[in-house]
């Protein structure tokens, strides 16, 4: 592993694999240990992945908050898949967890207006019939101004 591109690829895959295996994302030192990287190199990669909008950290830290579509903190988007049950960041990401893990799963959320539960199932890459709509409050070009609110 030499180029920053190769390091970033290995770090990205390591973060996602561990996140999926353990249900929580790894710390940067755990990634460095697993990949045999000097700590500074792993930290540099984490920062590049943040700048590239691949990872989102808790403010002021290198602790992963989002490795989209996965969320490290509980949300109103719980996604059950054959691989495991995970938190997603929003309904796009909830479907994204299903897609990333093979196209079968159920996303559970609530209507923010009336708090009624909603179950959105996907089977063999097909969305099961479901009543509802999706809403984006923020136009696309402003999403990354505050990725926690879109």
């Amino acid at each position: 592993m030499h180029s920053s591109e190769e390091v970033d690829r290995a770090v990205r895959l390591c973060v996602y694999r561990r996140f999926l295996d353990h249900g929580t994302p790894p710390r940067v030192d755990q990634v460095a240990d697993e990949l045999g990287l000097p700590p500074a190199e792993a930290e540099g990669s984490f920062r590049r992945l943040e700048e590239g909008h691949v990872l989102v950290f808790e403010p002021g830290t290198l602790d992963v908050w989002m490795a989209n579509p996965l969320s490290a903190v509980p949300t109103d988007f719980s996604v059950e898949t054959p691989r495991g049950t995970y938190w997603a960041n929003c309904v796009w990401d909830a479907f994204g967890v299903v897609a990333m893990l093979g196209g079968d799963g159920v996303a559970s959320t609530h209507c923010p207006c009336c708090d009624e539960p909603m179950e959105l199932g996907v089977e063999s890459w097909e969305l099961r019939p479901a009543e509802g709509v999706a809403h984006f409050a923020v136009p696309a070009r402003h999403w990354w101004a505050d990725i926690g609110y879109t």
Binding site: T109, V133, A137, A140, R141
Partner: protein, 71 residues
């Protein structure tokens, strides 16, 4: 991006928060976003979509107009 039981629920929710309504679209389109955006996320070859690729993906799903422009 949130899921609502219907468009009237979006309207009520936005009114209660005094925020303008954004883009409302079908759950099938939301599933399309998840599928198109993330199906290859665990591939070593995955790369973040360029703005042009992103807009093309949204257009394929019928998500067009100023709301979906990145530039």
């Amino acid at each position: 991006m949130l899921a609502f039981r219907g468009e009237a629920h979006v309207e009520r929710w936005c009114e209660a928060r005094r925020i303008p309504q954004g883009a409302v679209f079908g759950l099938d389109q939301a599933w399309g976003l998840g599928r198109e955006w993330y199906a290859d996320k665990l591939s070593p070859e995955w790369h973040r979509a360029t703005p042009e690729e992103a807009e093309a993906t949204w257009a394929r799903l019928g998500l067009t107009g100023d709301f979906w422009r990145l530039a």
